[in-house]
Symmetry: D2
Subunit: 93 residues, 4 copies
């Protein structure tokens, strides 16, 4: 079972909205909209995507990592190292 | 004329690809793909969007702000303040 | 016991170096050094600080959160929520 | 003349404070303070440094880049490219 299982519909809805926003930015560019207005919208979509990332990480820690840790051992260590790798990736993106 | 005018097609292509990637992330969630794989993809799309933002800012400074500055006066100051506002927004997103 | 206990000396050394770098930036400003050179150095120190943050978070997850999770219960949930809060803070800083 | 000339004292004061904060973080680690408290403080100092970077970039655009642009030519282009490079560096740090 994946960590985001209980919130699957909510994530699909958020991604659907983000997909529409990206299409909206393309529309702004087609319409020659002012650079700063396009940039502001790109920034809003970036934040929306980061919100999705933070939410997924939250679910992952609460469910997958948490459950591995209850069992302990090597798998727990690996899950933590893997999660830390993803956190570093988010911090760089 | 907008700053990104000469690169319009290139931006539309990049946004089309990003739109497809966002749809791909939704597909991963529908398929119950592993959280860390989804997160890695979200991070890649975030970076792609930030690349678009940096590119648009670059064109904006090179064309719009630059042209305002050649004329000088209040408009130049306003353009710079506006660009700085967008840079701060990018730094926070 | 704190999560960074085994690496205490290493963190103190890194922070000592960062402190010196901050003092170095002040010196650059006193000497009227070129803005872009100062900015480049500020950016390097910011990255060094984020490296410290990532390291501390790593130790915290590996030791404090991990140990709370072995015991399970409310404390494990609280530790995870708290760590997630700190991750969000890092993502915004 | 450097872009931050008129605000030199203000920047020196901010950097002095940041230097003290970095020393304070080292003190927290010496005192075995809780990881999350240390992290919160590291995050605050990171934000303070980024505030300095944004301020310096602002002054640089307003004074150095702006003045190069009034003269136009190759130097204006170079200053803009250089500023854009620094903005990308900030976005990555």
């Amino acid at each position: 079972m994946v960590g985001y299982d209980a919130e699957k519909d909510q994530y699909l809805k958020r991604l659907k909205r983000i997909e529409g926003q990206v299409r909206g930015i393309a529309g702004m560019i087609e319409d020659d909209r002012y650079c700063i207005d396009v940039l502001t919208q790109v920034s809003a979509v970036t934040r929306a995507l980061q919100g999705v990332a933070v939410g997924l990480m939250d679910e992952h820690l609460k469910h997958c990592v948490s459950s591995a840790m209850e069992h302990g051992g090597d798998e727990a260590d690996e899950k933590l190292a893997e999660a830390m790798g993803a956190i570093k990736l988010l911090l760089k993106s």
